[in-house]
């Protein structure tokens, strides 16, 4: 079981990482193509801007997961960091539960958004808005899994307390 979990974790991490890198490269190349085709060939691409935007939505959501995994989401810790360790633990447990609640809401209403938008096409006929909204429930489901693991680790005393020197950093 433990082995299975660790494989699942690695596979998820690697897929998210490589998909993000791939999409980032794709919008990079398409963006350059867009400039070159308009500038050099005087023949602007009609589909590039929309494709870039759609892939960007995915990159943003995947970025939620990467930031979640690395604990780099922006938060204000200077008040909770002053609490005694025991109290911090319970505040953190509360935070994990709240994050799970929010992500569950995102999954539920995200699926509802996907169902509503299945028939709404974008300019490219083979794509519809369901693809755009589809990433929201997937990403939030993965975040729920991470949060459950963090919650268990928290209760087992395996997660560090807030430390002012590890303040979340504005990127």
């Amino acid at each position: 079981m433990k082995k299975f979990l660790s494989i699942a974790k690695t596979v998820t991490e690697k897929s998210v990482d490589w998909l993000s890198i791939f999409l980032f490269c794709a919008i990079f190349i398409l963006g350059l193509l867009q400039v070159v085709s308009r500038w050099v060939f005087n023949n602007p691409l009609t589909w590039s801007e929309e494709s870039i935007q759609l892939m960007y939505v995915w990159i943003c959501y995947l970025g939620w997961i990467i930031a979640e995994r690395k604990g780099s989401h922006i938060r204000i810790t200077f008040v909770v960091g002053k609490l005694p360790k025991k109290a911090q633990l319970w505040v953190n447990v509360f935070n994990h539960l709240l994050t799970i609640t929010f992500s569950v809401l995102m999954v539920v209403w995200g699926i509802s958004m996907v169902q509503r938008s299945l028939g709404t096409p974008v300019t490219m006929p083979w794509l519809h808005y369901g693809w755009i909204y589809g990433i929201a429930p997937v990403v939030n489901a993965i975040i729920i899994l991470y949060e459950i693991v963090f919650l268990i680790e928290e209760l087992m005393g395996k997660r560090p307390c807030f430390n002012l020197n590890d303040m979340e950093v504005e990127k």
């Binding site: 993000s20 890198i21 980032f24 490269c25 919008i27 990079f28 963006g31 350059l32 867009q34 400039v35 500038w39 801007e49 870039i52 935007q53 759609l54 960007y56 939505v57 943003c60 959501y61 995947l62 970025g63 939620w64 997961i65 990467i66 930031a67 690395k70 780099s72 989401h73 922006i74 938060r75 204000i76 810790t77 200077f78 008040v79 909770v80 505040v91 509360f94 935070n95 709240l98 994050t99 609640t101 929010f102 809401l105 995102m106 209403w109 995200g110 509802s112 958004m113 509503r116 755009i132 909204y133 929201a136 807030f162 002012l164 020197n165 303040m167 979340e168 950093v169 504005e170 990127k171």
Partner: protein, 426 residues
């Protein structure tokens, strides 16, 4: 709405990720008012479906590439060769180097984290106090988001529906004034503490330093010419500039290796995730604020202090400085833009000036305790205590606040250049 706002305020201090806080509170508001919750997901998703916002990851990528490819060191060497001969020369080089680097990076942390290390190391090695070296680095990194390109300005422009080009232009004059002001502080301490100066460089040395930095210095030029000649949108300019910095790193300077690229891209994706999670969720929160008519109420409250524009601006400044001390800049921009920018505009302040007042206040906040991110980054890297860095930074805050006051009360400082380039607007 009151309940939602109280919940938001309480959750703000529990260490809950801010994006979860904003999103959760918005869901609660929707449930309590019988609004369709699917709209929350819709607006969060659609907030990232914007071509303008795509400039963000490319400015982040450019900063990461520049920091990894050793461009920062060349930039500092160049600055040091030019201004190093006066007393306290390396302190001046620190400020000038940061100002130059600000032209290719969009955040204060990219500046402090990459260039900052090099600056502090160099200054300490020739006998500057650790405190002073850190303080000059902290203060000058504030220039990162003020001299364009600027990630916070992109975010503010999207949130306030302002022109990115205008905001970028508006940052230049205050950025130069801040640079000059901080150099005065360096000169004062250099005289008082007899800081060393470098030996006069030969013309050959100046030429070599210039040649090494030249290609990197072209990056901001490409960006500006692209945007201001109207050839490219800011997003396309960001993509081209990022491509240029990758090309010079890989092919010209060769300090950047192909195998480093996945790591750099992933780092940029992570930062994009951190920033965009907030941008996306702040969109629904802003929507909630506006249906609850909070901006109008806030406007009235602010105007009730006095009819005078000066008093209003003073109140806004004090409030923003206070917020900047406790809240991270991007988050504060996203939460406060829908409230404060319309309030200032109602009082007759132009949009460009209002945005600059906001940016300057909140970016100075990266260098003020208790939540000054750059203070933490620098004290952590230089292994100097947070208190010592904070104390040493105080004198450098004086010129920053003077420029803030000038921008607040002399509209021309922020509006002259954008009006010159793009024509007068409201």
């Amino acid at each position: 709405m009151t309940l939602s706002l109280i919940l938001f305020a309480v959750l703000l201090f529990t260490g809950l990720p801010l994006y979860v806080n904003l999103g959760f509170v918005s869901f609660i508001y929707f449930f309590m008012n019988g609004l369709p919750p699917a709209v929350v997901v819709q607006r969060i998703t659609q907030a990232s479906n914007s071509f303008t916002m795509i400039a963000a990851p490319f400015f982040i990528l450019m900063g990461n590439v520049m920091n990894t490819s050793g461009v920062t060191r060349k930039m500092f060497n160049f600055a040091n060769t030019i201004v190093g001969t006066v007393p306290g020369g390396m302190g001046h080089a620190n400020i000038i180097g940061s100002a130059l680097f600000a032209g290719m990076s969009g955040t204060a942390v990219a500046d402090a984290g990459g260039l900052g290390n090099i600056e502090i190391e160099a200054m300490r090695s020739v006998g500057y106090d650790a405190d002073f070296s850190c303080a000059a680095t902290v203060a000058s990194s504030v220039l990162g988001p003020i001299i364009p390109p600027s990630l916070p300005m992109v975010i503010l422009a999207v949130a306030a529906e302002a022109s990115i080009g205008r905001l970028f232009m508006a940052g230049i004059v205050p950025g130069i004034l801040m640079t000059a002001g901080m150099m005065v502080v360096v000169a004062y301490y250099a005289k008082k503490r007899h800081y060393p100066s470098n030996p006069r460089p030969t013309w050959a040395q100046v030429w070599t330093a210039f040649k090494e930095a030249f290609l990197a210095l072209l990056a901001p030029v490409i960006l500006f010419v692209g945007i201001y000649r109207g050839v490219m949108t800011p997003t396309e300019a960001a993509i081209v500039a990022a491509f240029y910095s990758l090309t010079i790193g890989l092919l010209a300077y060769r300090d950047l290796k192909w195998k480093d690229l996945p790591k750099i891209f992933l780092m940029s994706c992570e930062t994009t995730g951190v920033v965009l999670a907030l941008v996306m969720v702040a969109n629904i929160f802003g929507y909630v604020l506006s249906i609850a008519q909070i901006p109008q109420m806030m406007s009235q409250v602010l105007l009730s202090f006095s009819d005078s524009k000066i008093v209003l601006l003073l109140v806004v400044n004090v409030f923003l400085i206070f917020v900047g001390m406790f809240m991270e800049g991007t988050a504060a921009i996203l939460i406060l833009t829908p409230i404060l920018i319309p309030a200032m505009m109602n009082a007759g302040v132009s949009q460009t000036q209002a945005c600059m007042i906001m940016i300057l206040n909140l970016m100075i906040g990266v260098a003020t305790p208790p939540v000054g991110v750059v203070l933490y980054v620098v004290s952590h890297q230089a292994k100097v205590s947070f208190e010592r860095v904070t104390k040493a930074t105080i004198p450098f805050l004086i010129p920053l606040f003077i420029v803030l006051a000038l921008v607040t009360f002399v509209p021309t400082i922020s509006t002259w250049l954008p009006n010159l380039v793009f024509g007068v607007s409201t």
